[in-house]
């Protein structure tokens, strides 16, 4: 349920953003609001992880999984990017489309 509310708010924000295009002052405030919301949320995530013994005890395993998943995501992306580049991009320069 939470994620649907999030997507709704996100979409609403994108629509409202249109009215802020020329308001640089307001845009700066929005961006610093984002920065502080991210700090707060990561801080809270830190606390809830720190108080969760199960996660703390398996931290090295978590890091190990994260490392391999990164490798998978990056290798998958660049391998496919190589194919797409050879097929569609190599022969011309993108700005000449």
């Amino acid at each position: 349920m939470t994620s649907y509310i999030v997507i709704a708010l996100f979409t609403l924000g994108i629509g409202l953003g249109w009215f802020f295009r020329k308001k640089d002052q307001a845009r700066k405030k929005v961006d610093s609001g984002i920065t502080w919301a991210v700090y707060l949320l990561l801080f809270l995530l830190g606390i809830s992880v720190g108080t969760n013994e199960e996660i703390i005890n398996s931290f090295s395993r978590i890091g190990y999984k994260a490392f391999w998943l990164t490798l998978g995501a990056v290798l998958g992306s660049v391998l496919l990017a190589k194919v797409v580049y050879q097929l569609y991009f190599k022969s011309d320069k993108p700005e000449e489309q």
């Binding site: 994620s3 708010l9 994108i14 308001k23 108080t51 978590i62 992306s77």
Partner: protein, 201 residues
């Protein structure tokens, strides 16, 4: 890079304080996180919607340029799905959700920990930070062996901001607009794909 260090240190202070139980109980209230996430996503929406580059990018849209973020999505999801088969303790869809962060670690980690629990949230946080760092370090090599789209593909959502300078440096200015396009599209799709992967399927 500096930004991710500050964010990591907020996480670390919370983590260490949490281990030693120095914070009052009300900070542990999950509703606080949920409401902060609502505020964050609303603000991120406004920020994207008010970005002039976003509309410039829409006007530039054509079949070839759309292929780029599509490549990153398919490549990241397939790659992480394959890795999950080698790791004994992660489900395919959980691994794909981590991959669907596309390097946007702040948002994806918070979002995933809300839906699937803190442990997967931490995997997503670390994995997507690694993705940004790996991209910053390896773009020259990746471009050499995988072609000019490789930096953009590796950077994922970060190709529009934090990794854009190195991508442009090693693949040329003409790829800058593709990098920004791909980054914006992926950024917008992160919450949508995470919901699809974790809640719908």
């Amino acid at each position: 890079m500096k930004g991710s260090l500050i964010i990591l240190s907020f996480f670390a202070v919370g983590l260490i304080g949490g281990i030693y139980n120095v914070f009052p109980q009300w900070l542990l209230n999950d509703n606080l996180t949920t409401y902060a996430l609502f505020v964050l996503m609303f603000l991120v929406g406004i920020s994207i919607g008010s970005d002039k580059a976003a509309f410039y990018v829409l006007r530039k849209m054509n079949f070839k340029i759309v292929l780029v973020p599509l490549t990153v999505i398919v490549g990241s999801l397939l790659g992480t799905a394959l890795i999950s088969l080698l790791l004994s303790d992660i489900k395919v869809k959980e691994a794909m959700a981590v991959g669907a962060g596309f390097g946007y670690y702040s948002l994806s980690s918070i979002f995933i920990s809300e839906i699937s629990g803190k442990e997967l949230g931490v995997v997503a946080l670390l994995s997507n930070i690694f993705r940004e760092i790996l991209t910053l370090l390896a773009v020259p090599l990746l471009v050499k062996y995988f072609g000019k789209l490789a930096g953009i593909a590796s950077g994922g959502a970060t190709a529009m901001d934090t990794t854009l300078p190195v991508i442009v440096k090693f693949t040329g200015k003409e790829y800058g607009i593709i990098a920004i396009f791909s980054g914006i599209v992926l950024t917008i799709l992160v919450p949508i794909l995470l919901t699809l992967i974790l809640e719908v399927f």
